[in-house]
């Protein structure tokens, strides 16, 4: 029997490493949406009170014994979602940069069958978010590279706020090779499988603690894209 829109299981995954200050607020913000969400915090090797705070705020906690990176955390989330039969998975950062109120905007197109992947774009409404210039240039460069490879124009392919239809995840996940920097690999593979990928505007708060945009992160993303280009 086909599930109705309200029956569909929405899993939210919050990868977190030492985010005791912000993670509670993010979970509470999601809770206040009054949607039928299953909120999971993937603890990626935290040594502070992140787990305790997340449990207290009402999230289910999945614990990586060591730090594996954000994509690995989401991959763990995907596996759990597949086993538990989730219909939609949403990934949101734990550092409070993303507004939980934007979640509905990402999920609705999937529930309505209009998209397989919805990217929360920081650039779609024309504003340039408060971020270091090198990171902005890096994002623009990866958008261009993605366009060259997939012929799909995106404004924010590196956004950490995305929603996925699980039927697409089920198709792609077994073929993925990248364990730690798989966000772009997933997107390229999905577009090659003719997934409907759309973007919706989101608001983003600046975070000086973010590791994204660091040289190693950029190098590994580039490696993944180049590998996929020749795949």
């Amino acid at each position: 029997m086909k599930k109705t829109k309200s029956d569909r299981l929405i899993y939210v995954f919050i990868p977190a490493c030492n985010e005791e200050e912000k993670v509670g607020k993010v979970i509470k913000g999601l809770d206040e949406l009054k949607l039928n969400l299953k909120i999971h915090m993937i603890d990626d090797g935290s040594v502070d009170r992140t787990k305790k705070i997340a449990r207290k705020a009402g999230a289910m906690v999945v614990e990586h014994p060591v730090n594996l990176g954000q994509w690995a955390a989401l991959r763990t989330g995907f596996v759990i979602s597949l086993i538990e039969g989730a219909d939609v998975v949403v990934n949101i950062d734990a550092d409070g940069q993303h507004d939980p109120r934007d979640l509905r905007r990402l999920v609705d197109p999937i529930l309505n069958g209009e998209a397989d992947i919805v990217i929360g774009s920081r650039f779609l409404d024309g504003d340039i978010p408060d971020m270091p210039k090198y990171r902005y240039i890096g994002i623009k460069t990866f958008n261009k590279m993605m366009e060259m490879i997939t012929k799909k124009r995106l404004t924010d392919c590196l956004s950490g706020y995305k929603a996925y239809d699980m039927s697409m995840v089920k198709k792609i996940l077994p073929y993925m090779k990248e364990n730690q920097y798989g966000g772009l690999e997933f997107l390229i593979m999905a577009l090659r499988h003719e997934a409907k990928v759309i973007e919706k505007p989101i608001k983003m708060k600046p975070n000086s603690k973010s590791h994204k945009g660091k040289l190693k992160f950029g190098y590994n993303l580039l490696r993944t894209v180049v590998k996929e280009y020749f795949a």
């Binding site: 787990k51 999945v62 759990i80 364990n179």
Partner: protein, 123 residues
Amino acid sequence: MIRGIQVIGVLVGIYLMLQTLVQWKRGNYGVRKTVLWLSLWTLIAILFAFPGLTSLALPILSMENTILMVVVVGLIVAYALVYETYQQAARAEKKLTELAQNIAIHDYFEKARGNPDEKDEER
């Protein structure tokens, strides 16, 4: 006349051969790896014992200087070893990631079934 450096080179070569055999005995190396390393250390020991042999390779490699040849060949071997080490590290990292993810998923479902172990204690 045998020079000191030759003696050191041969002794180091023999030591590394013995180390390789120990690793094989302990089951850390397979036959292929053991043969590869033994061949390399044997060759090094022989070349230290009979340095004149290196001149035989000069025309084959189209080089004129023995020292330069040894340095260039050594660098090539070193690059190959660095690459092999990088590959091994990448494989180990991938396995570690998969293992850690499997542990996390296993623990999650154990807890969901109501079997919290001592890991559940909050820090």
